[in-house]
Symmetry: C2
Subunit: 411 residues, 2 copies
Amino acid sequence: MRTKNKGNAVVGQSGGPTGVINQSLVGVVEEVFEQECIGNLYGAHHGTSGILKEDFIDLKKLSKRELEIIARTPSSALGSTRDKPDQDYCNRLFEVFKKNDVRYFFYIGGNDSASTAHIVNTLAQDSGYDLKVFHVPKTIDNDLRVTDHCPGYGTAAKFVSQAVLGDDLDNRALPGVKIDVVMGRHAGFLTAASMLARRPDNPDDGPHLIYIPERPVTMEQFQNDVIKVHDRLGRCVVVVSEGICDENHIPWAKRIQADAEVDAHGNVQLSGTGALADALVTTLKDAMPGGRVRADTFGYLQRSFPGVISNTDAYEARYCGRMAVYYASNENNSAGSVAMQRFGKGDRYRIETFVTTLASVAVHTKEVPDEFINKEGNNILESYRDYVSPLAGPLPEVGYLKKTREGCGLA
Amino acid sequence: MRTKNKGNAVVGQSGGPTGVINQSLVGVVEEVFEQECIGNLYGAHHGTSGILKEDFIDLKKLSKRELEIIARTPSSALGSTRDKPDQDYCNRLFEVFKKNDVRYFFYIGGNDSASTAHIVNTLAQDSGYDLKVFHVPKTIDNDLRVTDHCPGYGTAAKFVSQAVLGDDLDNRALPGVKIDVVMGRHAGFLTAASMLARRPDNPDDGPHLIYIPERPVTMEQFQNDVIKVHDRLGRCVVVVSEGICDENHIPWAKRIQADAEVDAHGNVQLSGTGALADALVTTLKDAMPGGRVRADTFGYLQRSFPGVISNTDAYEARYCGRMAVYYASNENNSAGSVAMQRFGKGDRYRIETFVTTLASVAVHTKEVPDEFINKEGNNILESYRDYVSPLAGPLPEVGYLKKTREGCGLA
């Protein structure tokens, strides 16, 4: 049995921000106060890059009120990084850890961040440096393996479904084809969440078509699908993942931008550009001459919008942060990632956490299960509502006027 | 003195939707119940185009609960139109009005809609048809003349400033240059509202640069401005109106899209495309080789997002709808547009309404006054906060961690 580490802790945030990543940070701070084995808690500015520079913030100095403001602020309050540490980088991290007697490392991030945590943990073990490494999951993409879902997803799902709900109302008012491009490189979970904008009892509600990276689609199929809906309803709202692929599994965005940027993790830049959306508009205008076709790319709004936060997501993100510290404080755990298991449906929904290995979460991602995708590969089935609804929470109630036998009613 | 019209009323919604245009609609419905001179209230599906088809909804049949749901739903619950009626079109409108004994026409919209109302009113007078025509102002652009501000603006201003607040936090976490393109063809009011995202006591808060159509800017000035901020802070958040013009007063968007669509009112399509944003990114990447430059176009989200509504705006939109009916019911008024006057500052802010002529609101638009624009033409002055803050309402409180002498504090 391992002895209980005594020493200081470092916490960092990594990768793309979310609406609740600071809830996890505050969860870590709160639980550190509960665990005697941890001394100082250093917040690393901009993740691992801040550790190298010993750019630390003493997080135990924050008041309860300051912690609550930080918790409900979107984006990463410590700053983030996209650095990908190698052996040399890690050796320099250990130098800083040793110098500051750091024995706990908490890293809040996605699968790239879990990879970083895994590398740091492996090299620490190899070099005999006693370090506990825990990963706290966050991603708006919901693409981490093992865990039922990721903190950050519910809030982004709420934003996307509210945005599409409003956009569908806008499209009813001024009909035509509307395309909304949603974040999601390999996994379509966030795009799939837009199905919440459809009210179960209103068959004509949009989104009418949903395309996710899990199902390749040809330009021709895309055109035909949209025309079919437009012929039937006189309008069509389409939600598309930025990572949507063609029949050869090549992202459409990559074909469009031959000179696209690539980051340290080898990811092509998909967000922060309207190129995919505009190319889809051109494709449809070719197929529907004279038609009104518009597109929006939701971009960074969907990951850092203040004031549109899922309560469940905020609670779970905080809880995962706390549990990372709790697990690390147990002498039996040396490293791992916090994962969630789901129990119950609807009002009875609740989660419990457990520890999974860093390796099980690192590198690879999870995709939307087949059971939620329709046969044609151009929509998300109603069964997905049970999965996503408790995470995003309720949407605003809306109504649209329609003529009825009595003169007027709501749709 | 005119006799008091007795007859039915038609209400329609026109132009781009807003978050509170249905508040005005419900205001009209509520006040019609108070005024004995008005019989039936027909809601025209898709504005004037619905009148031609006698596509009417009997709005007096709605329950109190249904009215409240409609009121808080963004976008135009009756549907909208961009039709621009000419003499022949108006003659057909009168046929329908005569057939249905319509003596009141309420039209909720912007300056194009005021033009329509003005044409309808003039032709009604010329042809001796007794009709009262009242325009209820709405626009997210805030570009109507005479009135202090427009219903719809406060809510869009709230959305834009919250979005930029979140985006500035995102940009702190992963620094670089971020451009946000905001709606606004000729008037920069909505773009100017993004200044609310800057907290008065935090000089480094974004947006760091704000460009509006009122001040032409060359590509070179734009590049130099951004580089200067980026050199100082290591990051830069820029907000740009979609109608931003070059030194020859030609919209940049027009230069970029030579084949851009034009609507019935002669407006070039600026929204529903990311072309301007992407061109600005290319411009900056040329000037800052290797720099991280991203852009988002807020698009239709800023006019129809459910759940992000300014309470003041919602109240005023409803009140303007009620007052249109109230004014029309007074035998001394034959036609006009409802306008607002502002009294008091901060907590003492309140408005009163008055009637202005349709001609005074039609066709021409209002621009951001010089007093709110900085000398360089690349930012909005702090004095604008007094004007816009009561309309948008308070923003969510946010905090960002920084190192202090004591170890840690909030920015």
